[in-house]
């Protein structure tokens, strides 16, 4: 009885007792969720257009952030370093398409998946070789991101919102909006979606596979840079950032591998729920640090009821 009480009733009593703390937790979860959604979006774009499960998205985040900081350390002004980093990400996209993807066209999914793990290892070694393995500080102020914090006092309590988190959320929303317009309205965006629907049909009407792949990997690179700046501002830039890529995987499962909307909603849901679970159930009852697995187990349970994720395309099987 005591046990049931501590699982089923006590956490909710805690939530009601300190609504300001609850709000703070929700906000933290929302910010984390926005970042998960951003990474998941990079995954979804590449999966949609090429059926490649791109494991390298996480390391691309690290690589982009390291390039940005590394360029700034070499004396490049911050606002010039951003476009330069984008150039680097573009070259990376071209290189990946030429060297890795083109020879592997038409291979089974698992081979392409392994190839992206190979890319991950290569970039880890390459990045450490060039930039060193130590933790770096993101050039938040130089990029003009405000660093103060706003405080509110709802319910007679106290909630503090860091301005850089707020900037991150706004930036992510703008980025996603631009991306959605690009995908749905522009000619290139239509070509990407056409490739996602049917490779051969798209090729037969004259859509260039290699151009679109480079484009998609470049967009994934832009998203990686945005994620890298935002997450780096919160936690510093190091190879530990790579682990957040794993967090994007349950988001993908939850939202469905093909769905942009699913990535966003899944990201927000997982960000908020894992924070709530950690604070109200994980820390008091299970010794904490439940964030490493909660998202996976949650997505697993959802998947048992909807095997293609919440917004994924229904899998139609034929013999």
């Amino acid at each position: 009885m005591e046990f049931l009480n501590s699982i089923l009733i006590k956490p909710f009593q805690d939530m009601v007792a300190a609504p300001d703390f609850l709000l703070q937790v929700l906000w933290e979860g929302l910010v984390a969720g926005v970042l998960y959604a951003l990474i998941a979006l990079g995954f979804v774009l590449i999966y949609k257009s090429s059926r490649i499960f791109n494991f390298a998205q996480g390391i691309m985040v690290v690589f982009a952030a390291l390039t940005l900081v590394g360029l700034h350390e070499k004396g490049v002004p911050a606002l010039l370093a951003v476009p330069l980093t984008l150039v680097v990400m573009f070259l990376l996209a071209v290189a990946i398409e030429r060297v890795v993807l083109r020879p592997l066209v038409n291979q089974p999914d698992i081979i392409l998946f392994m190839a992206t793990i190979g890319i991950t290892l290569f970039l880890v070694g390459f990045g450490e070789l060039i930039f060193g393995g130590e933790n770096k500080v993101m050039i938040t102020e130089q990029l003009g991101i405000p660093t103060g914090s706003l405080t509110f006092e709802p319910f007679g309590g106290f909630v503090s919102i860091e301005q850089k988190d707020l900037t991150a959320v706004i930036g992510a929303v703008v980025l996603v909006a631009v991306l959605l317009v690009f995908l749905n309205k522009s000619k290139m965006g239509r070509a990407i979606r056409a490739l996602g629907d049917d490779h051969q049909a798209a090729l037969s009407v004259g859509i260039s596979l290699s151009t679109i792949w480079i484009l998609v990997w470049f967009i994934a690179g832009i998203i990686a840079l945005a994620t890298g700046i935002v997450w780096g501002a919160r936690a510093g830039v190091s190879f530990a950032l790579e682990v957040i890529a794993y967090k994007a995987l349950p988001v993908l499962m939850l939202g469905g591998l093909e769905s942009v909307l699913g990535a966003i909603i899944g990201g927000l849901a997982i960000g908020i729920l894992e924070k709530l679970f950690e604070i109200y159930w994980g820390q008091p009852l299970m010794g904490g640090n439940t964030e490493t697995w909660f998202a996976f187990v949650f997505a697993l349970i959802v998947l048992l009821f909807r095997p293609q994720g919440l917004f994924g395309e229904r899998i139609i099987e034929r013999v």
Partner: protein
């Protein structure tokens, strides 16, 4: 000329489906076994045992377990590292609870624990497929490693949170622990690996193996011809996890000597997956070839600059190492997506023809 199959007639289906339809294959295996059991132990140094031979065998065993699940039954798993952990922790609990128990029995029993955990995490495979399933196995990976860290009972509440292998005797010889000699450990691992490989070969070419392959190739079609998918998938998870668990127990007890939870983290899973894929999915031989490549490559790369007299800092070597391993993986996938085992098949076919091309 050495590999001539002429004059080796088969007069019955039974003979045609024998383990070695070609006599030379049996000889070749015999030579390899003589090397493994007699010649290598006599010539190898302590370093070779610890850095190459024992890890190659253990990794090959783990990859064999994964290969049964992924290569034969077609269920992609990314949680191998955690299942190895289950085997290792189970073996540790058994050994510390019953110190008089024979270590072979302890290792064999510990496999059952990882098989049970494997079946539990394999249950979703009945509904979830493809990459979605791969990510659900990551749930096992992260949850189990977290459990190893937080559940004190598993490591007997030791203050370091790590498990430490005591000295374990078998028939008066110390086989595991800090005082065990490398040669003994090598023979122990080799014997276990040989036995499990023999079992695996015979399982995969028998009835169960054929059922798994049909599930891998198209599970709905398999279901329509009367195969019980649940039994097929769960048995693959069980047998695969059993072998992986045994490999995990060997990994800690006969090689590492101690283990922390993060040893079983995701890089270990990926390394085993690399071995299985570079070696060749759906092949037993491939696991050994892949393990030799993946284990030996970093060792060779690590000693190469020193031998050539190139002054490079060890950190740089480490980074170059990671880069080269990544590039090698991509290269192998491009050159031969069916793995090293396929290379051997091609060579073998050429040898049978040689020196006449037709």
């Amino acid at each position: 000329m050495l590999y001539r199959t002429a004059s080796q007639f088969k007069t019955s289906y039974h003979a045609d489906h024998a383990l070695f339809p070609v006599r030379q294959d049996a000889w070749l295996l015999g030579i390899i076994l003589i090397f493994a059991y007699a010649i290598i132990p006599m010539t190898a140094s302590e370093f070779t045992f610890n850095a190459l031979l024992i890890p190659v065998l253990i990794y090959a065993l783990a990859a064999l377990g994964l290969n049964i699940l992924t290569g034969y039954a077609g269920q992609l798993s990314l949680g191998t590292g955690a299942f190895m952990g289950v085997g290792a922790y189970a073996c540790f609990k058994i050994i510390t609870a019953f110190p008089d128990l024979n270590i072979v029995v302890a290792i064999a029993l510990s496999g059952f624990f990882s098989a049970a955990v494997g079946v539990a995490f394999g249950l979703p495979s009945l509904r979830i497929k493809g990459f979605y399933l791969a990510i659900t196995t990551l749930a096992a990976q992260f949850f189990l490693v977290w459990l190893f860290e937080k559940w004190g009972w598993l490591y007997n509440y030791s203050s370091s949170g790590a498990i430490q292998v005591p000295n374990i005797e078998m028939f008066g010889i110390i086989v595991a622990g800090p005082n065990a000699s490398s040669v003994t450990q090598y023979y122990f691992v080799l014997a276990v690996v040989t036995a499990v490989t023999w079992l695996a070969i015979n399982i995969t070419r028998g009835r169960i193996g054929r059922i798994w392959k049909s599930v891998r190739d198209m599970d709905i079609a398999a279901e329509l011809v009367g195969i019980n998918l649940m039994k097929a998938k769960l048995s693959a998870f069980a047998i695969s996890s059993y072998i992986v668990g045994v490999a995990g127990a060997l990994f800690v007890f006969l090689w590492r000597g101690a283990a922390e939870p993060n040893l079983f983290d995701i890089p270990l899973s990926f390394r085993v997956l690399f071995i299985a894929i570079i070696g060749g999915l759906g092949s037993i031989l491939g696991n050994y070839l892949g393990a030799i490549l993946i284990v030996a490559l970093p060792v060779v790369l690590g000693t190469l600059p020193g031998m050539l007299g190139i002054p490079i800092q060890s950190a740089t070597v480490e980074h170059l190492n990671v880069m080269i391993v990544g590039a090698t993986i991509i290269l192998f996938l491009i050159v031969e997506p069916h793995g090293l085992a396929r290379f051997w098949q091609i060579i073998r076919e050429k040898l049978i023809m040689w020196p006449f091309p037709h």
